[in-house]
Symmetry: none
Amino acid sequence: MKAETLLVIDDDQDLRESVIEILEDNGFVATGCESAESALQKIKTEVPSLVIVDNMMPGMGGMALMPLLKNDYPGLKIIMITAFSTVDNAVAAMKSGADDYLSKPFRRDELLVAVKRNLEELKFEQQLSEPDMDEALSCLSNQIRRQILAALAEKKEMRFMDLTRYLGISDHTKVNFHLKNLKANNFVSQDREKSYSLTPEGVKMIDCLHLFSKRIPS
Amino acid sequence: MKAETLLVIDDDQDLRESVIEILEDNGFVATGCESAESALQKIKTEVPSLVIVDNMMPGMGGMALMPLLKNDYPGLKIIMITAFSTVDNAVAAMKSGADDYLSKPFRRDELLVAVKRNLEELKFEQQLSEPDMDEALSCLSNQIRRQILAALAEKKEMRFMDLTRYLGISDHTKVNFHLKNLKANNFVSQDREKSYSLTPEGVKMIDCLHLFSKRIPS
DNA sequence: TTGTGTTGTGAAATAATATTCACATGAAAC
DNA sequence: GTTTCATGTGAATATTATTTCACAACACAA
């Protein structure tokens, strides 16, 4: 995994270089651009993980640049810095795609906190194709298993044959098959009395399903 | 399609009622709650399209309420209003899930513009045709397809062989197979120039994956 | 004891998914 | 024009997932 690079876009050379220095002092790899236009050019050859962009610049301003960047590089994190900050401006910046917003002058640690936090979030978001998501999703991709989870979420605890009848499935071994699968994935557990119930992980899965169906009402 | 309802959450009865009146004068259906807690309760029985929430309230504040709402009802639009607004507070509000932010006191038309704009956005987002859960989940249960979606989300647009190489898969027909699947499910489309990109539904799937990965790491 | 319902196992059959291979087309490069 | 790469198809194969079936242990009631 290659190092994350940061790009500082600001027409004020002093500020730009001092920001770069702060970042480099803290182990980041940072470069600079003096305008939005040159930044767009530069990013074509190397896409940074995060850009820090000034609002007011000759030519294209930071506010106009951000939608372009987010459009071409949706994963890119953007921190906007601005001298004459107002609430409205901050809200507009966030709506235009800024992930964070700093008012000038800012302290060195404010900058670093913002940078680190956003890089953390980026890393987190990039974890999309993780292995244990595999199991969870393939488990959930089966309708009967979803029904079982839903039934257990509803009834809290059920015995085997009650469950199969509840689901209206005639072949009990079929239910058993899926139940075993859920047990193996630790979404369902069986207590001493042979009753089945959701594990905490199972409850989480139900949660996910709810989010899903809310996000995908059909 | 039933009328959109708006919910105004504010402990200040005068302000709450005047906001509701403004909204009703303009043809909206609006109700009120005097606390975050009672709002959570109320929303369980009827989910509004948009909520207007005050920042400072006894008990749970608006800032704490928003993530809860966004978590349970991701489609819900939230406008935060606040008396002592600062840039930092506005930024924090937007990061916590606010879709818009108004400083008190606000003019009647500021409120109305914000409400209308957010309801427009909501309508727009809902117009995208919705995939169903079975298809969505079985599509997402395959790792390569998730990687393709993630790659396209990241790069916005890719040609076939670039995608194949990007994923590090030697057999291009394998990628083709999954790409065809994604195309068939309308998560990915191909433009005139043979480049592949996410459809709006595909973007939604990426969203769902994010929801997922935020929940799974226990 | 005999029957009846519950809860299970494992193997075999079947269905669904995924991978590989052999080949084809058209565009660009040499 | 020949080579090379990008893009793609369809059939054969391999792999997984799911269903079905035959059977068995146990409890409990008639």
